[in-house]
Symmetry: C2
Subunit: 401 residues, 2 copies
């Protein structure tokens, strides 16, 4: 597997574009279209929030099909909490893109991200869709990535090349963060294209499995958004022998590339968490089950006390073991161990009295890894998050509706 | 029922004191003793954090008894994550107070609050306990309340007088907040004294019931501490006919006073949440069950996005309904209603387009109440919380271990 530098257009047969339609007040790119030259097997997972947005409802229907051929996206307006008009608008967005592309509406995924509770500005949006379709090109991957962003501070992309049955297969993805980030699929928008040939049912399961190990292991603020969507299109143009089941000898290679792409994007989302000054990796080992390990790691990663401590560069291990303690995960309190940056701070539930001077350089790093051993079994899990800073409060106190 | 101004010493037969023993770096009061002239029926609830502190382990044993006669408390050091030495220290604290008071160790509750992972400074502590026992007095209620505080910005006390069977009964309580505040009994230290005559088993159940409706409905940051304890002593000196069951005609009056006291203290804890600039009341109505109503209210109250929005005085209703949506509570998304300060912002899941100018004066208030109707049933619950400010980040980023 080889990491490459590429946009969604790196796999064969995909073109994309992003344009400025005037939906975002900032005037930045806000409408994107992604298109596959041929129908592509599709797999997607969506937010589990009961207040899910209109485009999620529409895209869920598309995902019931075996294949799709395009994704139309806008940023700046989430089309959430918009009732029946919102659904009509999302369908109109879908139908208009389909008409311009000469495909069926049911072949077009629809996504929106931005402010909740406002109707889509349909005139601007439809003009933007037409512009984006006109601009579709192999070289417009970057404008497409820009058009799905909201409060993101950098573009999130990842791409891998693998060889499957002698054929070069490319998997490429983009994502947007950066607030309302909490698992329960998904926690953002992410689109992944690949020219691999994969049976639709296998792809759908692979997407779910990859999401569980990547995007669902990221938390910024614990808020699961109304619009989260992860959509994968696999158009088969690499001409590998089609992967018809998880038992197919080529499945592991394909899944590895898909997961690598998703994990890279997931980590970028944590790294670009709103106001983040630190990227934190929370490893939990010695858990009674993977679920327990994830539960404890999530409790630590979500704890405002832990997150503000890292912002203050304070190795406040008490808050970390405290969060593991209230998570509900099984643990042997008197045998718990904790390391930060490879230095053991807690052994058998007790302070190792490491001098602050020894920990200061580790706490000053931007990327910090910690490991908590629950001493209750053999399972482990890793969650990625960021710290809680003044800037988070500023961004979210000032980003008015 | 009459609200009165009084400390823990307001009920007959209780004396208390707080002294400065040098455990807190600030030099403020840090050791307290509360004593009843006669053995008192006792009821207590403790943190459900698996990493619970040594004094919690010791006090849980005391609570197995029908009666107790004293509480010894220190602030500045939590005696948590201190292993076997921590337990030995907590027992020494208990035994020493008992010896000085001339009672059995098993009659003395022990509590600690403060930094996690450090051993108690036993010399200072024992000297402080001796000082506090020497100072025990009806007029030392305030010093006692000061000695249980950590980052609190004001003293939390509440007292009520009721008449039970022609006898005047007084219930008085104090509490400390202000961080690591999340339900699952309890979320702080709170001590309540009363001269009511109540059978121990009735008292124990009443304390649990009162905690569930008061302290367990408060959240500051979602972190359940290692040391939370609520302890109630009822010494019977009011000479009312002893309340021997929940069916006793006097039980409702007693419970009402206990709950009023606990609710007042719980709200004060939210009001004094670390860095709080707003006191928020989250009402959820129309829920399928009380549990669902509490779940949705808690999700809203814990959401960093909601809390920072209130800090920014932004009526960002999208974040509120979004939090209800991911809480897991049953809801009818297209029928959800939301009001803030009595103004309907969302009706049937959609924006009412209230002008910002109309909402600004409500958002500028210190105390703000919101009500979300889930349109899924008849149950309701109320949770109290505060906003998330720069100051929260400062306090918790700078409060080093």
């Amino acid at each position: 597997m080889k990491k490459i530098d590429g946009w969604l257009t790196a796999p064969q047969g995909f073109i994309a574009a992003g344009v400025k339609a005037g939906i975002k007040v900032s005037g930045n790119h806000d409408v994107a279209v992604i298109y596959s030259a041929v129908p592509a097997a599709c797999g997607a997972v969506f937010t589990q929030n009961k207040m899910c947005a209109a485009p999620v409802l529409v895209s869920r229907e598309v995902n019931k099909e075996a294949s799709a051929q395009a994704i139309v996206v806008n940023s700046g307006c989430a089309n959430a909490c918009t009732g029946e008009q919102g659904i009509a608008d999302a369908k109109k967005m879908q139908a208009y893109a389909a008409e311009l592309l000469g495909i069926e509406p049911q072949q077009v995924f629809v996504c929106s991200t931005g402010v909740i509770g406002q109707f889509l500005p349909m005139d601007k949006l439809l003009t933007g869709i037409a512009d984006a379709v006109d601009s579709l090109d192999e070289n417009e991957g970057e404008s497409c990535a820009l058009a799905i962003q909201t409060t993101d501070t950098f573009v999130k992309k990842a791409a891998y090349e693998v060889t499957i049955g002698g054929k070069k297969v490319t998997v490429a993805g983009i994502a947007k963060g950066a607030g309302m980030i909490h698992p329960n699929m998904a926690t953002m928008l992410t689109f992944i294209t690949t020219d691999a040939a994969v049976a639709p049912d296998v792809l759908k399961r692979a997407v779910k499995a990859a999401a569980d190990k990547s995007f669902n292991m990221v938390v910024v603020d614990g808020d699961t958004s109304t619009n989260d969507s992860m959509i994968v299109l696999a158009n088969g143009l690499a001409e590998n022998e089609i992967i018809i089941s998880e038992e197919h000898p080529d499945y592991p290679v394909f899944f590895e590339a898909l997961l690598a792409c998703a994990t890279d994007l997931a980590k970028m989302i944590a790294r670009d968490g709103e106001g983040a000054t630190k990227f934190l990796e929370v490893n939990v080992t010695g858990a009674a089950s993977w679920e327990d390990a994830k539960t404890a790691a999530m409790a630590i990663a979500k704890s405002p006390l832990v997150k503000t401590a890292f912002f203050g560069e304070d190795p406040n291990w008490g808050r970390i073991v405290c969060a593991a303690g209230y998570s509900g995960a099984q643990m042997t309190a008197e045998k718990v161990n904790l390391s930060i940056g490879g230095i053991r701070l807690v052994e058998n539930g007790m302070n190792c009295n490491i001098p602050a001077s020894e920990l200061a350089p580790i706490m000053a790093e931007h990327d910090i890894s910690m490991t908590v051993d629950l001493a209750a079994g053999d399972a482990e899990a890793t969650v990625w998050t960021c710290d809680f800073s003044y800037e988070y409060v500023k961004i979210n106190g000032e980003y008015h509706t």
